[in-house]
Symmetry: C2
Subunit: 416 residues, 2 copies
């Protein structure tokens, strides 16, 4: 099959230029991007993408929730091979997370159109309106609209920090909230997402691209430790029921469970509330979050149980109470095995080294994968950094990955 | 000398009644007192104390900062034997902290006046206007005014959470801020303070009263741990520079140093700030307070050094940076040994068991002790509780301690 594929040319300079142009939308004077859903910077990004897609010879349109599409119509088949990612950013995020999937998609479709011609099936690149939940606490909004998973109540329930509802925010950027249902799509055959890895697996292994086996299984739990407030000067150490000392032991136990399971298991105690939080008062209550991830559902369950068990023992030894509440539970989303082969074959065709790996982060693909054949291609992230201005992938890595993506799209839209 | 002392009668019922009456000033519907300096509840307390002192046959006056005094004039000597404590409370404090020292002082002077007659030296009971710093961050305001340690700039620099300056707050309760200097006293020979222990030493030892050897030496430090923010899902455990995991180990090391030194050493990590404090982000920075206390200056210094050393090692092992800043340092305040003997002799006279102990909490006495002969008498605190509605001392314990106080005042004002 590889012999049928032309050598597609996408240059590092093209990728650099794309990344810099989109990266100016929402860029802050001190560095970092602020480009949440339906913000001014987001509107700017739409204008830049419209111009890029048009120049790339694609038909541009926006759907009812503000997903932006560039289309290369198929000759024989109106079913769609979709690629892309999201265009919103976290607060002070980087130029690569999400954006690179959209920009490589445009570059790939441009190369295919100009270097090969019209595809048999329709090719489409998408910039999802939202994935990061950095403005409204309802993420994957673009993907969910496409899959028909948005509920009308969300439009009023979700309110940003300024008190603006999602419904009002849509109106401000010219979208009609009554038409959200029209974003539903039933013509997509396949979804391929290119994304930065946001970790160091590819970098450490010196591998060009990663083929994602599954998006990890995730649990988000609240641990509430209740002890007793006491005077810091007059309460002997042995008489204390110090919620913070107990919680500190628990944080170390949580880490230990993850370390004992080993890669790719991760566990994070990221958010902490201490009450009454006075320097001269023994802490009475500590609430902390435990974020646990592992691609294997059974291993994740075992980790959660081990953590709760260890922390329960610590609570007893420290004479405090512990309550564990599971706030969020995402099952693993395996990608499509046939599409993984398409991606690895494309990498081979392009002379790119590749390996499989799970994704520890959530992505639009995790929802897509539950509804239609989906696969993900990772590119290396320098030093594993993401969600920060330190995000970086070399133009060479970007261009190579865009060629792999284009080659995979060629296999899906031109040959099959 | 004990044979010269009459058996002074102060009943548990008198103490209960006093405690309940003053305890209504600032009492909240859900329990607990809110009676900060110069508040309405504080003004109410002044009215209640004026009435109590008047009924007890004392001359009542208020000084320029709102310290309230009840005086029993001496026959031979206008030098003053002063007793008392503070009338303000922490936010949702109890009825005993501070208040009990004022109320037992009134009861003692009433008993001496009615059962013995006029003293040779002048006896005075004081209700200090402020000790807890629960409204303005400048504590011991009453004591400092008496010792001439208030600076004029404080009146404008200290502002409460509603933006009211100390100067305005004084005016609102009818005090002239220009006259603060007039509160300075040079006629006090001795200060005796009765206070709840706020710990469990007396209760555990089943001892009636405590004679305080010194108010503890204290250090308040800020530990700043700097790691690196990373994605909680994509950053392998071994690649993290998790500031919170490091800080958790440090909190345990701080506790261990205090436990190894043993009673009365205490160390508390009470206040925590975690950044960025997101459930899915590896913590980049943690700032926590370390409150360390020991009555022996040299031991305290050694504890501080050991803690910084252990935590420095932890920082290195965890690949994070640690900065330690000492925010506050209070040297120990030893009480007067002659006065300690007066108190223990008085306890023996009253048939009360006693022991010596250091105070782990700060008190007005710690400042007084640096300027004039000072001693403190502790009464048991049920379960060691304080700064809460759970504060409690039995009426019998209160009355017994008031008799010990009265007996000591008798020795100082009638005999010597």
């Amino acid at each position: 099959m590889t012999s049928q594929v032309p050598a597609l040319d996408i240059s590092p300079e093209t990728m650099s230029s794309y990344i810099e142009r989109l990266g100016r939308c929402g860029e802050q004077p001190g560095g970092g991007l602020i480009r949440p859903q339906y913000s001014e910077a987001w509107v700017d990004a739409h204008a830049v993408l419209t111009e890029m897609m048009t120049t790339a010879g694609l038909e541009v349109h926006q759907d009812a929730v503000g997903n932006i599409f560039g289309t290369l119509q198929g000759t024989d088949d109106q079913r769609v091979i979709l690629t892309g990612s999201h265009i919103d950013t976290v607060y002070l995020g980087g130029k690569y997370d999400g954006a690179l999937g959209v920009l490589t998609g445009i570059a790939a479709l441009d190369a295919l159109r100009s270097q090969v011609g019209r595809p048999r099936k329709t090719l489409q690149v998408v910039g999802f309106c939202e994935e990061e939940a950095s403005r409204f606490h309802g993420n994957f909004f673009g993907t969910r609209a496409i899959l028909g998973l948005v509920e009308d109540a969300e439009l009023d329930d979700l309110v940003d920090s300024d008190g603006v509802s999602l419904r009002e925010a849509m109106r401000i950027v010219g979208l009609d909230p009554a038409r959200v249902g029209e974003a539903r799509r039933r013509d997509i055959d396949v979804f391929l997402e290119l994304h930065i890895e946001q970790g160091r697996v590819l970098e450490d292994a010196k591998v060009d691209v990663g083929v994602v086996t599954e998006i990890t299984s995730l649990a988000w739990q609240l641990y509430t430790v209740t002890g007793r407030a006491d005077h810091a000067g007059t309460t002997a150490m042995r008489h204390r029921q110090d919620a913070m000392v107990a919680a500190a032991e628990m944080a170390l136990a949580v880490r230990q469970v993850a370390e004992e399971v080993g890669d790719p298991a991760v566990a994070t105690t990221g958010s902490w509330t201490v009450r009454p939080n006075g320097s001269n008062i023994v802490p009475a209550e500590v609430v902390f979050t435990v974020d646990v991830r592992h691609p294997d559902e059974a291993v994740l369950e075992r980790m959660m149980n081990d953590m709760a068990k260890c922390c329960g023992d610590i609570a007893q030894a420290c004479d405090v109470r512990l309550a564990v509440e599971t706030v969020k539970r995402e099952p693993a989303s395996p990608t499509n095995s046939g599409l993984r082969t398409v991606l690895s074959d494309a990498a081979d065709t392009c002379g790119a080294t590749w390996r499989t790996l799970p994704s520890g982060a959530g992505h639009d693909s995790q929802l897509m994968a539950r509804h239609l054949p989906t696969a993900m291609l990772f590119v290396p992230s320098r030093d594993g950094r993401s969600h920060s201005n330190a995000e970086y992938t070399t133009p060479e890595d970007c261009a190579r990955a865009a060629r792999v993506l284009a080659t995979a799209l060629h296999a899906l839209a031109y040959i099959r």
